[in-house]
């Protein structure tokens, strides 16, 4: 019955264990499990296509920094240590200086990320062509679009959950 009894990422990152907001979420267990399932699918080391896990983490970290959402940004930044991402790349993302990135492919992906985070209506057909020109295949553009769109969902859900938890329980 209780398919989402295991705390998911947002529970662990933001909420008091067994607290009122975590209990509210349990009443919408399908949302909890699909939110976690989306996260696990997008950061699966064996995800089909050619976006490396490192690239996906850099996109997620950058999107969370732009939002900004500090806890999720830290969450996505952390595994980049293990992947030994080069310091120049990390510094460029950290200070939002995409022109300093060495890789045109990463520059194109993070430029697309910036557009979708800041003002998604500006992401037009030309923006997709720029990704294809940078070497992404169709499946990779779909993955990237889904990833940025998911992060846009996740940061808003996270902000809402934290706000709800910060309020005193309703009388």
């Amino acid at each position: 019955m209780n398919s989402s009894a295991t705390p998911d990422l947002l529970d662990r990152l933001l909420l008091t264990a067994g607290g009122p907001v975590q209990q509210l979420r349990q009443a919408r267990g399908k949302v909890v499990s699909a939110t976690q399932g989306s996260y696990e699918a997008l950061f699966d080391a064996d995800l089909p296509g050619n976006l490396s896990l490192e690239e996906r983490l850099l996109v997620a970290w950058y999107a969370c920094r732009l939002t900004p959402h500090a806890p999720l940004a830290a969450h996505y930044r952390e595994p980049l240590h293990l992947l030994a991402t080069d310091p120049q790349t990390l510094a460029a993302v950290e200070k939002d200086a995409l022109t300093e990135l060495q890789s045109p492919r990463l520059q194109a992906m993070l430029g697309f990320t910036r557009t979708l985070v800041r003002n998604p209506v500006e992401g037009d057909r030309e923006a997709l062509n720029a990704l294809l020109a940078a070497g992404l295949e169709t499946i990779d553009v779909v993955t990237l679009g889904q990833l940025i769109a998911f992060i846009s969902y996740q940061v808003r859900l996270a902000a809402g959950l934290s706000a709800l938890q910060a309020l005193e329980p309703a009388q």
Partner: protein, 193 residues
């Protein structure tokens, strides 16, 4: 059916959607892709939107599970109010296609489209009741500034009678359209009849 709305480039008419990327030929879909299409939407096999997203089937599967659980689950916030929030987010993000779909859904559920006409004209002043106004304002705030959401912002919702379960449903409905709008806006475009 009430009158059609055509306000500020937004409409409640039925629009099409055209993909910018090559779509999967349904005849070439693997059994796993077939299954995900079938559980995502009744029309998925003839929709360029789903036939784009099916290039990455497990992500589409989880997205559809989240979307359907958020928008259609019984209890909690009324489905009409979830659709109102979806329409507001789509209006703010300027997703004309999403706005048209969820304008229609609101109208089917609420049997009126006055609130949608207001959202299309000027979302910042929209809402036919103080409760609708609070829902609309919260949808705008969480859409535009998720990095700056003072908890007190939720008090306006409680003051209008929403309990915390309904507030969670509202947060879900707003957040899932941050996702949906970005797919519809950035992987293709609406087609007008």
């Amino acid at each position: 059916m009430s009158e059609s709305l055509n306000i500020q480039g937004f409409t409640n008419r039925t629009l099409g959607w055209k993909a910018w990327l090559p779509i999967l030929d349904p005849a070439q879909a693997s059994p796993a892709q077939q299954a995900v299409l079938e559980e995502s939407h009744p029309q998925a096999k003839v929709s360029q939107y789903y036939l784009t997203l099916i290039h990455q089937p497990e992500v589409l599967r989880q997205r559809s599970l989240a979307f359907n659980a958020i928008m259609y689950a019984p209890g909690g916030l009324s489905r009409a109010e979830r659709e109102l929030a979806s329409a507001v987010v789509s209006r703010i993000n300027q997703c004309v296609f999403c706005a048209s779909v969820h304008a229609q859904r609101f109208e089917q559920l609420a049997k009126r489209n006055d609130a949608i006409a207001q959202v299309f004209a000027d979302p910042h002043t929209a809402g036919t009741t103080p409760r609708e106004q609070a829902i609309v304002q919260f949808a705008i705030d969480l859409t535009l500034a998720p990095g700056d959401l003072p908890p007190e912002r939720l008090l306006a919702l409680r003051e209008q009678g929403l309990n915390d379960g309904e507030i969670l449903d509202l947060i879900h409905a707003i957040a899932i359209f941050a996702w949906a709008n970005r797919l519809m806006l950035n992987l293709g475009e609406p087609v007008w009849p």
